[in-house]
């Protein structure tokens, strides 16, 4: 039975891998089960023996991607680090560990695009991904009153929201074709605004 179980989970992973390639490229409605079967290298009936239907497959896929990808992100200890270093490190983690992953942009696109058909996936995404860094930053602000941050949650929204909207505008909506603006400039100005330093270093230092 353990062998059978291993085979099952292997097939399941194989199906999910193929499904991810198709769903993230073509969206939910644009994806056919035939195409998933071909991409995964299994027959259609095999998919239906592991997942109830197309919706169930899609939910399992997005849920798994959301939870697996971001559970190890933003785990740093914020104490005993100066503010500029913390903000720069958070930006670095977001850009190098999240944005530079080739599946982040398509995943964000499909979560947004299908957020009306699958609202619970959208909520899962916001709760696991968006709130994580925000809570860490808010806690830091509350323990550092010398920064005189009036509204930590609003500042956290500004900090992460500026970076996310940069990704959407530049990478998702092809804004870089008509408007060149590097990550570093946004991060430097954010740090300049929040902690009042000049902020000329790169986020990747």
């Amino acid at each position: 039975m353990s062998v059978t179980s291993e085979r099952q989970t292997a097939k399941r992973a194989q199906i999910l891998k193929g499904a991810m390639a198709v769903f993230l490229r073509l969206g939910y409605a644009g994806t056919s089960m035939d195409r998933v079967a071909t991409e995964a290298g299994v027959s259609k009936q095999t998919i239906y023996s592991h997942f109830q239907d197309k919706e169930g497959l899609f939910r399992s896929l997005i849920e798994g991607e959301t939870l697996a990808r971001f559970e190890a992100v933003f785990q740093l200890d914020p104490h005993q680090v100066d503010p500029e270093t913390l903000l720069r490190r958070l930006a670095q983690i977001y850009f190098t560990q999240v944005v530079d992953n080739s599946q982040y942009v398509p995943l964000l696109r499909i979560v947004i695009g299908e957020s009306e058909r699958f609202p619970e996936l959208a909520r899962l995404f916001t709760e696991t991904v968006a709130q994580r860094g925000k809570k860490l930053l808010c806690e830091y602000f509350r323990h550092h009153p010398e920064l005189s941050i009036r509204d930590p949650e609003a500042i956290a929204q500004i900090f992460f929201g500026s970076m996310v909207s940069w990704v959407i505008l530049q990478k998702m909506l092809y804004g870089e074709a008509s408007f060149d603006l590097s990550r570093d400039r946004v991060v430097n100005q954010l740090i300049d605004l929040i902690v009042g330093h000049s902020g000329n270093r790169s986020y990747s230092d």
Copy 2:
């Protein structure tokens, strides 16, 4: 001929109105031409006599919505207004004239969701909508060196990006269910950061 032409444009507008209701709710692939015909109150063949195919209808719809909706936005004269008033007025225009329109969130969602299949629509959207306010704000910063804005474009990205990402998180991805954060708090903190005032007024004052 003028009567015929009027009838044509009336039918065309009728089709586009029905198409908008369906496309914005179900996405491109999720929309069927049968459903558009029913919603618009015309037959399917009538649609095909006005538009080449499904793609052509979709492109006309999104292009028209993008151009018509935002051509009158951000037309204010920025000169001889103090910085806080300008930023607060820009935020007010964005939230009341853009976000509060019931079609903005679905339109933004579908432009993002279909940005891989229709990249030229995504570029049109960024160029007409996103860049308009940004350019106005940048020009203002350049004419007001007393604000000592080092990187106007980056600050403009932070200003508008924070508001757009607030809409995406709170309204599109249902973040308001787990995280309450009002517009006013974000706008007040943005103004506080950029012009250094306390910012306790409402954006709608």
